[in-house]
């Protein structure tokens, strides 16, 4: 063994460990590698043969479902430790630790209003009634008999993030109530046709089979456009946290309307004006009026690497990457600024670019070691440009609470530390 090799390898190991540490800390998880001694680390490096090649690994069947590597145990949902209660609460996706556009099912963000029910699919029913020719009841087997379809769409909580300080430290703290999956189910339009809509049908009240019996009203146009009754996510059945065995999917609409554990669709002429759509998910303006039925999530983006809580350990090349999305359709382009917003350049947009789905963007970048502020700005196919927080606050005020789609800049200090530039 040569000391030279050990020495030259060490910075790379340190870099990786620091990135893992920052990711683990951001996720509130275990700091990896901190306890490992230098000797133990180098034993598995060239020219030595690593330990994991010297004996057979775990046998087939040791993990019938499968789980991430134990070295990734810090990559978990970001759940606040200071909530008043955890029955009506949310948990965030660790966006800064993920690649691509698909969120793994175990890391998909959660928001529940009455806990996560355990539902026997054999005893679950969907009732469709109200302004229809034939009120119907479906079993899960019934719903799976309909022609199926699969589509990739994001879901985002309407309050992601709020408008007031303290602002979060990491990408997950800021916009982690956002995830994206391939959803499989049946077009709601097909199911509605089966019951026959009456001409006066204008809204559908969707209700969950959870302890909140959460209800939201959906305009009939959306129900007939691209709404889905979903039973599978990323190839497997929905997780309980995502509405097992059945949820509504309304691409581009705020998360809580995509009712989970869906048990009832009530076709009506008027909205329900339920508690969730009057006292909760309404947007309060400075003059005391509040916007109601504000469904769409507008165009938005965030840089996930480098991002808050991470550290650049070397000058020179770094890829800037992040995600962009719009409830109004496809992302047309993403612009990135590396000079505190003075100039903007188009990022490379990774295919596929799908409607109402996360879109991955990248920008090659040479960091000169000087302090910098980096940020991204999404433009969607309607031509809408993601605004700054100042622009939003000027129109909406601090008590608007929901639908904050502001540009979020990251500050990089001379020592490489990345922090929230607006905090």
């Amino acid at each position: 063994m040569s000391n030279k090799i050990h020495t030259s390898d060490k910075p790379i190991g340190t870099t990786r460990r620091r990135f893992l540490q920052s990711g683990g800390a951001a996720a509130g998880g275990v700091v990896l590698g901190a306890g490992a001694s230098t000797a133990a680390e180098t034993d598995n490096l060239p020219p030595n043969v690593p330990d994991w090649m010297k004996a057979p690994g775990d046998p087939m069947g040791s993990q019938p479902y499968g789980a991430p590597s134990p070295f990734e145990k810090g990559v978990v949902k970001n759940i606040s430790k200071n909530l008043k209660q955890y029955i009506s609460a949310s948990g965030r996706t660790p966006l800064q630790d993920l690649d691509g556009i698909i969120t793994p099912n175990g890391l998909f963000y959660e928001r529940h209003h009455g806990g996560v029910p355990t539902i026997d699919p054999a005893q679950h029913r969907l009732m469709l009634h109200g302004l229809v020719e034939r009120p119907l009841i479906f079993t899960m087997d019934d719903l799976r008999r309909f022609p199926s379809e699969s589509r990739i769409h994001f879901l985002e909580c309407s309050g992601n993030p709020g408008y007031t300080k303290p602002y979060g430290k990491t990408a997950s703290d800021l916009v982690g109530l956002l995830s994206c999956a391939e959803w499989t189910g049946v077009s709601l339009k097909l199911v509605l046709q089966e019951a026959g809509l009456k001409p006066e049908a204008k809204w559908i009240i969707a209700e969950g089979a959870d302890a909140a019996a959460l209800t939201r009203s959906i305009p009939i146009e959306k129900c007939l456009e691209d709404a889905m009754l979903v039973y599978s996510q990323n190839g497997e059945r929905l997780r309980p946290q995502q509405g097992y065995p059945l949820r509504l999917l309304l691409p581009g609409f705020e998360g809580n309307m995509n009712v989970k554990w869906l048990r009832r669709l009530h076709v009506t002429a008027e909205p329900a004006y339920s508690r969730e759509e009057t006292s909760k998910y309404t947007d309060l303006l400075p003059d005391g009026t509040a916007r109601e039925f504000s469904f769409y999530m507008e165009a938005k983006s965030i840089i996930t690497r480098p991002s808050g809580g991470q550290r650049l350990n070397a000058t020179g090349f770094h890829e800037i990457t992040g995600i962009a999305w719009s409830g109004h359709g496809k992302i047309q382009r993403v612009e990135v600024s590396v000079d505190d917003g003075r100039s903007w350049q188009d990022a490379l947009v990774q295919e596929p670019v799908l409607t109402r789905a996360l879109t991955r963007f990248r920008l090659p970048w040479q960091w000169d070691g000087k302090p910098a502020v980096i940020q991204s700005r999404a433009v969607d196919e309607t031509g809408y440009v993601q605004p700054t927080l100042a622009e939003l606050l000027a129109v909406r005020g601090e008590n608007y609470f929901y639908h904050n789609n502001a540009i979020w800049p990251w500050r990089i200090s001379a020592d490489g530390e990345v922090t929230n530039a607006l905090a």
């Binding site: 026959g196 004006y273 009057t278 006292s279 507008e298 622009e391």
Partner: protein, 178 residues
């Protein structure tokens, strides 16, 4: 005669077949009965439609609230683990709005709808309709919206005009344009 009969039968069959086609493409699912729908449809309209029979008084509601609600919402609805339910009138258009049933909720029947379906959080749908009327009456009385000796039923609950009712507007986004 015979031909006319045959033609008539064929015509009736064609009409039945075409209407069945128009009615149901896949023939999946079964008819929901009126009793099944009545058991599950707990949606109450903002105008009080579908509110059930029954009534409850403020004084009954005070007792039920103390037993079922106060541990989360406070003895007088001042809020704790659960939302604040009382006060805040006049704050909504200020820099520090306090959103409660009394200051923010636009429709009183929504209170019945929400309590019945979701409260108390540890045992939703356990209160009787009378209990829900009573708790609704108590919360409204704490907000000064009904008298302390009031008893509410479907008609009187729907007749209450909430102070913030006319303050809701449509979605004006996109509201930042370049």
């Amino acid at each position: 005669m015979r031909w006319r009969e045959i033609c008539g039968v064929v015509l009736v069959f064609l009409i039945w077949a075409s209407s069945a086609q128009a009615q149901s493409t896949y023939g999946i699912g079964r008819q929901a009965t009126a009793a099944e729908i009545a058991g599950w449809n707990i949606d109450v309209g903002r105008d009080g439609s579908n509110l059930p029979a029954g009534r409850g008084s403020v004084s009954q509601g005070r007792d039920i609230f103390a037993q079922q609600c106060a541990s989360c919402h406070g003895e007088k609805g001042e809020g704790a683990i659960g939302d604040r339910l009382v006060g805040g009138q006049g704050t909504i258009g200020t820099p520090r709005p306090i959103r409660t049933v009394g200051s923010y909720w636009p429709y009183a029947p929504t209170l019945f709808d929400y309590i019945r379906r979701a409260m108390p959080q540890n045992a939703p749908q356990s209160l009787s309709n009378e209990d829900v009327y009573a708790v609704s009456a108590y919360i409204l009385s704490l907000n000064g919206l009904v008298r302390d000796d009031a008893t509410l039923d479907a008609k009187s609950l729907a007749a209450i005009k909430m102070p913030n009712r006319d303050k809701f507007v449509g979605d004006a986004r996109p509201d930042v344009k370049r």
